[in-house]
């Protein structure tokens, strides 16, 4: 299972950063029915639990952000402030640290994942329009990006379920060079630098300036390249969830396909016992390399290797590609699509990186901004360029610059507009958990007493019934879809799922 969660930037005319927790709350509260409203069960969440076997007492908080706490604005921990909504697609919408966040439902294919990620943009634009209307026409804009250019970053995270029996230290050592270099195709591009990083005209990554550790459980400050949060949202005896926080928010669908597809393939390689040769890929200073690659204006992306000498980011990626092609070719059509795109993109990154402006966000943004900059006689340090960078990420189809490129047919697509329309209101066809959650959200949301990624609690008359969504993870989605097609009451849902799964313990039961 795979998912993407995106914290969107929010702009409401006349409001400042101190107002954004409230504004994000109002925005989410404007979500139209049907949906499950305010029933997310936070008691089941464990963001401070570390895979290395301990739980930290608190997560680090950005001291510059703490000023807003002192002014009395809550840091969105209260459930009312979170304003959680679960949508008929099984997706989650809520206020996370002053950002409206869209979490796709759990997906089992990359094309479904991309369709649901893109549907999130439409949901956000719908909420912006509804909020603007409520405010009497006050402009409200939402940005699918990861920085405010003033030192505040917000995340686009990926989640991958994988086998728990892989030692997590193997995951760190094996995937660290991959995550450091993945930005050459997954970066969304950024004008300038921040957070004390050296000057740069244009960077590959929105997030590179914000990483200061190799691995930790933190996400808000002192961010690590690899997050060690232990919160599988599934049977914890069998699975881990790799919570990837080092990625950017992508519009380009090929970039999302590669970002998530290559990561998924590598997890599969790890499950098969493959490990990369550290003498080939281990980096002397991974944290420095993230920033160095992102800000390298030469686009050569050479970094120091732990074993001595230097290596290009493309060559590091080729080590992973080679193993994936050797061991996973033919596994599925999607696997082969990822392998083919991965190879093509690496070849082009080596020969003509700027020629990928129809494929990768950073290249599309660079081409658009550089053309404008040259035509208008602007320097890269002109503040206008950062404003155009921001507008690349606007989800308003009448204003966003990426969306203008897409409307012109100047970027490659993986899914169609029709796929995105279906994803707006329908669960992914391959995900039984999302199908069950989405049916509850659509057909009897008022009966839902609590909900998480892995379980629901439903009232039916005087009875409360628990639904262990985690047990559905490996059910046949077609069988589940057929069994739930005519379910219109909580009792019928529970009965249908009991019929499918039989008696069994909730793997998450305390």
């Amino acid at each position: 299972m795979i998912g993407i969660e995106t914290e969107y930037g929010i702009w409401v005319e006349g409001k400042g950063a101190q107002d954004l927790v409230a504004e994000a709350t109002y925005l989410v509260q404007g979500c139209p029915p049907p949906c499950i409203a305010g029933k997310w069960d936070y008691s089941r969440e464990h963001p401070r639990r570390d895979v290395r076997g301990f739980t930290v007492s608190q997560l680090s908080i950005d001291p510059s952000d703490a000023q807003f706490e002192q002014r009395g604005a809550p840091h969105s921990t209260d459930i009312e402030v979170r304003a959680d909504r679960v949508l008929p697609s099984g997706a989650r919408l809520y206020n996370d640290h002053g950002h409206p966040e869209f979490s796709t439902p759990e997906c089992t294919s990359l094309t479904e994942l991309i369709a649901h990620d893109r549907a999130g943009e439409t949901w956000m634009q719908t909420l912006a329009e509804r909020r603007s209307k409520k405010l009497g026409g006050t402009p409200v804009a939402l940005y699918k990006n990861n920085t405010d250019f003033h030192g505040a970053s917000y995340g686009t995270h990926e989640s991958y379920l994988f086998a728990r029996n892989i030692p997590f230290d193997d995951v760190i050592q094996s995937l660290l060079p991959f995550f450091v270099t993945r930005q050459i195709f997954a970066g969304a591009g950024k004008v300038g630098s921040e957070n004390g990083a050296p000057d740069a005209n244009f960077q590959l990554s929105q997030r590179a300036d914000f990483f200061s550790a190799i691995a930790s459980v933190d996400t808000l400050y002192n961010r690590p390249i690899i997050n060690t949060r232990d919160e599988p949202h599934a049977d914890a005896r069998r699975f881990r969830r790799l919570h990837v926080i080092c990625g950017d928010a992508n519009f380009c669908e090929v970039a999302t396909l590669l970002k998530c597809g290559t990561t998924l393939l590598l997890l599969r390689l790890l499950e098969q016992g493959w490990r990369p040769d550290p003498s080939l890929v281990a980096l002397a200073d991974p944290v420095a390399a993230v920033k160095q690659i992102s800000a390298d204006q030469s686009l050569k992306w050479q970094v120091k290797r732990a074993s001595g000498g230097s290596i290009g980011a493309v060559d590091i990626q080729r080590v992973y590609l080679l193993a994936a092609r050797e061991k996973l070719t033919g596994l599925s059509p999607e696997t082969d699509l990822v392998l083919a795109e991965w190879k093509d993109v690496l070849d082009k990154l080596e020969s003509d990186p700027l020629g990928l402006s129809d494929t990768l966000d950073w290249a599309a943004k660079y081409a658009l901004l550089n053309e404008f900059r040259e035509a208008e006689g602007l320097s890269w340090s002109d503040p206008y360029l950062k404003s155009l960078d921001l507008e690349y990420h606007n989800v308003d189809p009448g204003a966003g610059l990426y969306l203008a490129l897409e409307q012109e047919g100047r970027v490659r697509r993986i899914v169609t507009d029709a796929d995105v329309q279906i994803a707006l209101k329908n669960p992914p066809a391959g995900s039984p958990r999302a199908i069950a959650r989405g049916i509850a959200a659509c057909r009897f949301p008022e009966a839902v007493q609590s909900v998480t990624w892995s379980r629901m609690s439903l009232t039916d008359g005087d009875q409360t019934r628990k639904v262990a969504l985690a047990r559905l993870g490996e059910a046949d989605p077609l069988v589940v879809t057929e069994a739930l097609a005519d379910v219109h009451t909580p009792a019928a849902l529970v009965a249908a799922l009991d019929g499918l799964l039989g008696a069994g313990e909730d793997p998450e039961e305390d």
Binding site: T335, Y384, K386, A404, I422
Partner: protein, 63 residues
């Protein structure tokens, strides 16, 4: 871990789950109503951007 084997499931027929299968109803999200611009209009769109937008854009630190 069979997720990359599971995309073949997408080609199977799925049972419509009304009202979940309906799209564009009520007040929910709808397809964007945007006519296809040309290169000139992208340039116009860029020229309409207030150069000070990013200077004013301040966010809370998120995850």
């Amino acid at each position: 871990m069979d997720e990359l084997k599971m995309d073949d499931r997408l080609t199977r027929p799925t049972v419509p789950m009304d009202p979940v299968r309906k799209t564009g109803d009520g007040d929910g999200p709808k397809a964007p109503d945007v006519t296809r611009p040309d290169s000139r209009s992208i340039l116009d769109r860029m020229k309409k951007v207030d150069p000070k937008t990013a200077e004013r854009y301040r966010q809370r630190s998120g995850q």
